[in-house]
Symmetry: C2
Subunit: 367 residues, 2 copies
């Protein structure tokens, strides 16, 4: 990291359009290997010359790959890492050997302020554990959350869902914090001035669902003016992709199961569609003529284009890219990282939460 790039990440969100934006990337841990990561960086850099990278991993391997792309090499600093956290490693075990790993080093560059956003394709549990330890929770946040973009009928094409699986529990205060963080994310990443927030439940009627949800509903409704969002009440699983809501708030257990259920459903329909189109000569002719339409559809629901769960509620922003992300997926995560880094998102979010969420009992020293 040289002094120029570091000074390009000031403490205030105001930037001129000529400033560099530095992204810290853990090159290791993805299923597709480091070459895909470097290819994704190249794709992003071709489109956006303001990007600079700090790349963490096996220095020799990374240097050989980067050297083939001279303009990218000039904008990338490689930092050697001694170890890699495995995809299936238990977070508690990974924590004991965090030091010197590419994942930990990528986060360290955010902690020191050299970069504002870190990206990793590695183990989600370990990445969250390392992030909590190295970056610490933002003031007023008790449980950080993972926000994802969910393909929807909205004009922008997506809804935000959080928590997608950072924590299996969330009480009413946590759900209020998620609403504030989700609103801030939708405002800053998707440009919605006044996002519509819904609370995920088993029915839209007021009397339905768990008691903690009724408590959370009251808190979220009360915070809507100060939080500059609209609270639309309970939403159901069928609303996940609807255009009547922008941000869907739920605990990480429910959010994770909803997300993976949708992935499984989409995969099954895709497989059956392929089977249907290869069934007979007639269906193969149909598939030939329908190909442009099917490709357009596939592009629209392509999970690689919305690659990146974002960890919210930390002192810095962390993007968890899909473990199987290819170059297109990596490039999508970098684009999101650029948007969030450029506006100083993590600081904006922390200010918003601190201003609205009541301090936790444990935070003010009374309990």
């Amino acid at each position: 990291m040289n002094g120029d790039a570091a000074s390009a990440v000031p403490d205030t969100p105001q930037r001129t359009e000529t400033d560099d934006v530095v992204i810290s990337i853990d090159a290791m841990g993805g299923d597709m290997g480091v070459a895909e990561v470097v290819r994704g960086m190249g794709m992003s850099h071709d489109k956006n010359p303001r990007l600079r990278f700090i790349l963490h991993g096996d220095e020799a391997a990374l240097a050989a790959l980067i050297s083939r792309n001279a303009p990218l090499a000039a904008r990338t600093e490689i930092r050697n890492a001694d170890s890699v956290i495995a995809m299936d490693e238990k977070p508690s075990k990974a924590l004991r050997r965090a030091k010197g790993s590419s994942m930990s080093n990528a986060l360290e560059a955010v902690r020191t302020g050299e970069s504002e956003v870190a990206i990793s394709c590695g183990n989600t549990g370990a990445l969250m554990a390392f992030s909590m330890l190295q970056l610490r929770k933002a003031p007023g946040v008790d449980r950080p959350a993972i926000a994802i973009l969910w393909p929807s009928a909205n004009p922008g094409g997506y809804n935000v869902l959080l928590d997608a699986g950072a924590d299996i529990r969330a009480d009413a205060e946590d759900l209020l914090t998620y609403a504030l963080m989700g609103a801030s994310y939708a405002r800053n990443a998707s440009g919605l001035a006044r996002p519509r927030i819904g609370l995920l439940n088993v029915g839209t009627e007021e009397h339905k669902g768990r008691a903690e949800l009724h408590d959370a509903a009251g808190r979220i409704a009360a915070a809507s003016e100060a939080g500059e969002f609209e609270y639309i009440g309970y939403v159901e699983g069928t609303d996940m992709a609807s255009d009547r809501v922008d941000v869907i708030v739920t605990d990480g257990f429910t959010g994770n199961i909803a997300l993976k259920t949708a992935e499984g459903t989409a995969r099954m329909i895709r497989e059956q569609l392929e089977e249907a189109f290869s069934y007979s000569t007639l269906s193969r002719i149909g598939a030939f003529f329908a190909l442009p339409s099917l490709k357009r559809l596939q592009k629209r629901i392509d999970p690689r284009r919305v690659n990146g769960g974002v960890f919210l509620g930390l002192n810095g922003t962390v993007i968890k890219s899909h473990g199987g992300a290819d170059a297109t997926g990596i490039s999508a995560a970098i684009k999101l990282a650029f948007t969030l880094a450029e506006i100083g998102f993590s600081r904006r979010l922390a200010e918003r939460v601190a201003a609205i969420a009541p301090p936790r009992a444990a935070d003010d020293g009374t309990a």
Copy 2:
């Protein structure tokens, strides 16, 4: 109801293939109206002459409809009901005016033993509340559950998911009961000798998820031999439609959200597929040639063909048909009702649960 039909429902599951099977149907409360219900009955009766019906609702309207189908009329007894429970009625309010409603009357025919299975397209919450009150919980069951069939890659085409929304809570003992009931349902309705049971969680690793799930996992594994099922461990949302599991066990909050999320995802893909095929002349030509394939696909994932959530854990079986079910959907629910009634399913299930599930503290008078 005449004496012949009543005597055709003996107390033992052994039947000869010439016995009548009586189904009690709440004709009111569906979105499509009573004519669809009667049409569905006609479709079923054409295929299966062993069916007899007790039909509850507005006698004048039902008699006029039924009279147009003489063979069906000869097999149907109409019972007038004074009121209908509305679709959006709060269960607690509905309970106060249950008496004399078509829904309550349909369940009453099961309570008295005239019929073994009741079907209703009405309000799920009210139907469960009435069922608990009129039929009572089976011995050993603390929380009845709703089991649904989930389109999957399995040879039979479906997995069983429970609880799909009967109760928003379930502790470890309830989850064990769900495993036993789900295994019994898969064995009797789908003919699987030794169903594979999975417990829905946010990851398949043993250390993941909530503490009550770890507790439930131990209990379910311990009961697998006596319950004649195979416990395969945790499954994720992506496994919902997979062929590595037959029965997926979860609490009713999570199950309901997973179900509705999958419905919403499938609907969105279907809409985008239609949009893709009407985009250009070429895509419309493609759609023309692909039509047979698309129709085959649609038939395969048609929710009407798996119509019917089944209430398990009561003294009698209740099938909740989809509120928007048309004649095809009603007929599918009747087919399922016939299968379950013919084998004396609710008694078999109760025997299985009573034999394996440890009695609740509250059941044995010690607490």
